[in-house]
């Protein structure tokens, strides 16, 4: 199976988030970016499937903050090809990003597309489902298991409460990966550096990414704290004593 994994950088939520002067988007100047955690799972599942059954894994991303590092890290982990899509400026909507990926994929050969099931920035919907519809391909999201079955794939989709729905699907298909069957592999920086020297970064242009009108952002704001929590202060010991009393009273 030849698998394509679109990768996206998202703001690291460990950092303090601030709204910029427009009042409509994040102040990106001081933001730290990292690969969307679900994309890490998508890549891991792709690499595991390749190790099981052969084929190739191609990591592909829109040009942007720190994206070269993310793509070379994918190569260091085992991706055969890394592709950067240029010509998309600023922060595209997921509809626009999906269109750019769809354009790029039209000239690539693949059986499966694994996207991270969601990201923290999906205001206009999840990338994978949009991509599937622009490619006119079927799609299953919240996937926690994929195996090759005959000429197609067996796919496990998760519902609430841990109930799993099992599907048989023909390829090509786009799958939104929730969790790889193993923890995404770690790759040391030295190996990423080696990949930078030995891997060829392919480039493609985004092409026409015009999409239908989206909903316009009016305002971005920090949710008002409902202030419901009584905040406990003091030393760890003092806090622990107070908490112990609260808990004993409730039980």
């Amino acid at each position: 199976m030849n698998i394509i994994v679109p990768i996206k950088q998202v703001p690291d939520l460990v950092e303090e988030l601030e709204v910029d002067s427009s009042g409509k988007s994040l102040d990106r100047e001081w933001l730290k970016f990292k690969v969307n955690e679900f994309d890490d799972h998508a890549l891991e599942e792709a690499l595991l499937l390749k190790e099981d059954t052969g084929g190739t894994v191609t990591a592909i991303a829109l040009d942007g903050d720190d994206i070269d590092k993310a793509l070379f890290a994918a190569a260091a982990k085992g991706a055969d090809r890394v592709v950067k899509i240029t010509g998309v400026d600023g922060a595209p909507t997921n509809h626009q990003a999906a269109k750019a990926f769809a354009n790029a994929l039209s000239s690539l050969d693949y059986d499966l597309v694994f996207t991270g099931v969601q990201s923290v920035e999906d205001r206009d919907g999840q990338l994978g489902v949009l991509l599937a519809h622009y490619l006119n391909l079927p799609h299953i999201s919240v996937v926690t298991g994929v195996s090759v079955s005959g000429s197609g794939v067996n796919v496990q989709k998760e519902y609430g409460g841990g109930v799993i729905a099992e599907f048989e699907a023909a390829t090509p298909i786009v799958l939104g990966i929730q969790a790889a069957r193993e923890t995404p592999r770690y790759v040391p920086v030295a190996k990423v550096r080696r990949a930078m020297r030995s891997t060829e970064m392919e480039e493609m242009t985004a092409g026409d990414i015009s999409v239908g009108a989206g909903a316009e952002i009016q305002r971005m704001f920090k949710p008002e704290s409902s202030g419901s929590a009584e905040m406990l202060s003091g030393s760890a010991e003092e806090i622990a004593s107070t908490l112990a009393d609260i808990i004993k009273n409730k039980m």
């Binding site: 939520l13 009016q218 704001f221 409730k250």
Partner: protein, 309 residues
């Protein structure tokens, strides 16, 4: 302009999911003709307590169980035929597979992670609940993917909705075939029946540190549960996961340790009787739901608390 609002009903294992009623109630508040769209096979009886004006029911063997391809195709056809200006769908495992398809096929703006909706404005919770965004649609034509638990279920219940049946599109030759539903494996512990849960999130940093929270849970005679990243990392089994793709819990005491409180997690624990949150980030959304909050380091507070009990 009067609204025609589609609410896409969600059901699993012959049970209507609460999100359906939550959306119907919200749709009635927005105002206009509220039409619940129900897809299934021999499932018409599920519509008995829908509080909408109308139910549009499509019966087909291929729709008996959720199938992303069959459901999407059918709903797109209904949207073309009835031209609703608002479509409400769950921001859920099923809904995610529908929303974007309708958006692309019907060229309707989509807004996901919606925690509130009016006739032309949608509020979303982004960045793990750390930012809200309000989006405006001038012509009032849009799809919103609604966060589960955002609205009241009772407001969407009722009786006497007229049921209209519609034909399914041609569903032969589907590329996706539903096989079966698999119930979760029973775990060693049922977290939904515990009085006390010590729930651990990303802030615990590594698997070895789980000892600290396990010790607290043991001392309290409770169980250890977690947010999604801990389960995705395979540090705890799926049966311990609280939230959207995990379990809903309602213990007497819920101690959230190193959990920021993304909407997906909140959905699973907000009804606990007493919520105590320990997180060094004072802006963590979990503090909006907690009764007591602590921003001291969990590695100091948790062992100290275990000692005091």
């Amino acid at each position: 302009m009067s609204n025609k609002i589609f609410v896409i009903a969600e059901h699993l294992n012959g049970q209507v999911e609460d999100i359906t009623y939550e959306m119907i109630g919200k749709a009635k508040e927005i105002g206009g003709e509220v039409i619940t769209v129900l897809l299934g096979s021999g499932a018409q009886n599920l519509a008995a307590d829908f509080g909408s004006d109308k139910v549009l029911y499509v019966d087909d063997a291929q729709l008996a169980n959720f199938n992303p391809e069959a459901y999407c195709k059918t709903i797109v056809q209904l949207c073309h035929a009835h031209a609703p200006n608002i479509v409400l769908v769950g921001n859920t495992s099923q809904g995610m597979d529908i929303a974007a398809g309708v958006s692309v096929a019907c060229d309707m703006p989509l807004v996901a992670y919606a925690s509130d909706v009016t006739a032309d404005t949608i509020t979303s919770q982004l960045y793990g609940g750390k930012m809200s965004v309000s989006s405006h649609v001038a012509d009032g034509r849009f799809i919103a993917a609604i966060l589960a638990g955002a609205f009241d279920t009772e407001a969407g219940k009722g009786s006497g909705a007229s049921i209209e049946t519609a034909d399914a599109p041609d569903l032969t030759g589907l590329k996706i075939q539903f096989k079966q539903l698999v119930a979760p494996e029973g775990g060693d512990v049922d977290i939904t029946t515990q009085d006390v849960l010590v729930s651990v999130g990303r802030g615990i940093q590594n698997e070895d540190n789980l000892e600290i929270v396990q010790a607290l849970a043991d001392k309290l005679g409770g169980a250890l549960s977690s947010s999604r990243p801990i389960v995705d990392s395979k540090w705890l089994p799926k049966t311990r996961q609280v939230g959207k793709s995990g379990l809903k819990v309602k213990p007497k005491v819920y101690i959230a340790v190193g959990i920021s409180g993304a909407p997906e997690h909140i959905e699973g624990m907000k009804d606990a009787e007493c919520i105590i949150a320990i997180n060094t980030d004072p802006n963590a959304p979990i503090f909006d739901y907690a009764h007591y909050g602590v921003t001291e380091d969990l590695f100091d507070v948790v062992p100290a608390l275990t000692d005091k009990l």
